[in-house]
Symmetry: C2
């Protein structure tokens, strides 16, 4: 399988950098004291649409030819990728066609509609989502932009780590959450080639441990409808993201749900920033494995900040 290279991430960054926010890197003395290492939080919750997903979506849209752009982009998603693709399309003069299950939360339907996307609702099954998407694409000629298992998306997500290393170069480890694997594989693609001495690892909810089991076995085991509070990580790896992760990532740690809650609340209370449960998974992994990270400088990618404030997990 042909895998992207660090150079492709660099090209992606050059393409998207004037379209994205250069998000800040925050530190917290009190959290450093608790975990016994030095953490650098790359705040993609402050990215456009509140998630790193904007990087990959933006790179995908900006990679289209004029002819493709005229026919638009399409995906099925009810999460951050849908909002990211909708805004990336609108800001670049393309139409986004989003397939969403009819039972998606009202707030997410509104957000995607607010970014000007054309939404097609379908039954809330994976089969209905996929068949509806195929129909939308054949009706419109739009280009499919997958939430993670696609070259341009992976390279776009890798720009978060690249930017982080420009802001704070002196790191021993970079840790991300892993769901579909776009952020982790993009990070590993850039970092393991350009800074091979830096470890690239991930945190994953034990309740959705397909990446962990697949990585350890060297063979792909998908999960089925996992119920973790880290709603952004309920997906399984894709073929491409698995191949990159298998070859380039140093380790994956699984974490308990309670650790995710504790880590999320710790960041809210001590850093005064809003992060979604998925973003708390790397800190949860550090809390559960303090000896592994002891005295290191660790870059931690905060993946997003989209939370239902009426339904907090604490």
């Amino acid at each position: 399988m042909n895998l992207p290279l660090a150079a492709d991430v660099i090209v992606a960054y050059d393409r998207i950098k004037s379209h994205i926010h250069q998000t800040p890197v925050f530190t917290s003395k009190s959290i450093n004291q608790i975990v016994g290492c030095e953490l650098f939080f790359k705040c993609e919750n402050l990215q456009k649409v509140g998630a790193f997903k904007y990087r990959g979506a933006c790179n995908a849209v900006l990679s289209l030819s004029d002819a493709q752009k005229a026919q638009g982009v399409a995906t099925h998603s009810s999460g951050n990728h849908a909002a990211a693709l909708a805004l990336a399309a609108r800001e670049n003069g393309a139409t986004a066609y989003i397939v969403m299950p009819e039972n998606a939360p009202e707030i997410k339907k509104k957000a995607v509609a607010g970014y000007g996307a054309k939404i097609t609702f379908c039954q809330p099954t994976l089969e209905a989502r996929e068949s509806t998407l195929v129909k939308v694409i054949s009706d419109t000629g739009a280009t499919m932009v997958h939430p993670y298992n696609q070259w341009e998306v992976i390279c776009g997500q890798g720009t978060a780590a690249m930017e982080l290393l420009g802001q704070q170069g002196d790191l021993n480890t970079i840790i991300t959450p892993v769901g579909g694997g776009g952020l982790l594989s993009g990070t590993a693609t850039f970092v393991k080639e350009q800074f091979p001495e830096i470890k690239v690892v991930a945190g994953e909810p034990k309740m959705a441990d397909d990446a962990y089991r697949s990585f350890k076995a060297g063979e792909f085991f998908p999960v089925d409808n996992p119920n973790t509070i880290a709603d952004g990580l309920r997906t399984s790896l894709g073929t491409l993201t698995f191949e990159i992760i298998k070859n380039k990532v140093d380790d994956i740690y699984v974490v308990e749900e309670e650790s995710i809650r504790i880590a999320m609340r710790m960041v809210w209370e001590r850093m005064k920033i809003i992060i979604e449960p998925s973003s708390a998974v790397p800190l949860a992994a550090i809390l559960e494995n303090r000896a592994v990270f002891a005295n290191q400088k660790v870059g931690l990618i905060i993946s997003g900040g989209n939370v239902d404030l009426g339904n907090l997990p604490f």
Copy 2:
């Protein structure tokens, strides 16, 4: 009455600048669209102890002589000022004596104790707090540091606006919340002398409208135990802060409780930062008075981010 000058704020900044965080200034396109003006949020929720109060406390502690410092500092407070004074004292080798009502929330007692302060508990009445503080001071020789009605504290708080103007000079108006008036009077002290063309205004909860009524009447009307959700603004002005506000502030706007809730949630959802209800009062004032601020560039001081996550107002 002898009032502080902009030069005193500048001296304060020089004294505290290596001890405080230079907090970032955030913007939000989507909030700008809603309010019809351009807002620059000075994020003192990301200051040490999560509040601008650290600036004034730090200036007060750093202004002590060695002999005074050896005897410590004292105050009565159960809020951000207590935490700020406790940390400012510890970081500068002094002891902080804090008088707190015995019914203060456990989390606040823990925070202040965690910063190494010596706490004396008292009955939850203003009379008991004041008499206990007098006893602590006569026992220890500590220097009283008032939460707002004191020269060094006011000048310290004024450094937030000074720093903001260094980051974003081109402003038509600066707006702060007003409770005891330390932040507002410090802001007006610096701004109206150095940038007289910039308006300095404040938002205040209608349920705690002593500053509004006193400002409009030119005479001091305290409030008694107001019950606003903006818990940081339940105090009345002091003699010194009132004098500065009366002379230098351009206007004060009172706001409904519901507007505070809406503004607070708007910042949480759209900016992904945690602000306390008091910090939402200026945005609430802009929401209620859009015509006044239309098309302006407005600097808005976010005063703090200390919220009980188990008891949100929405």
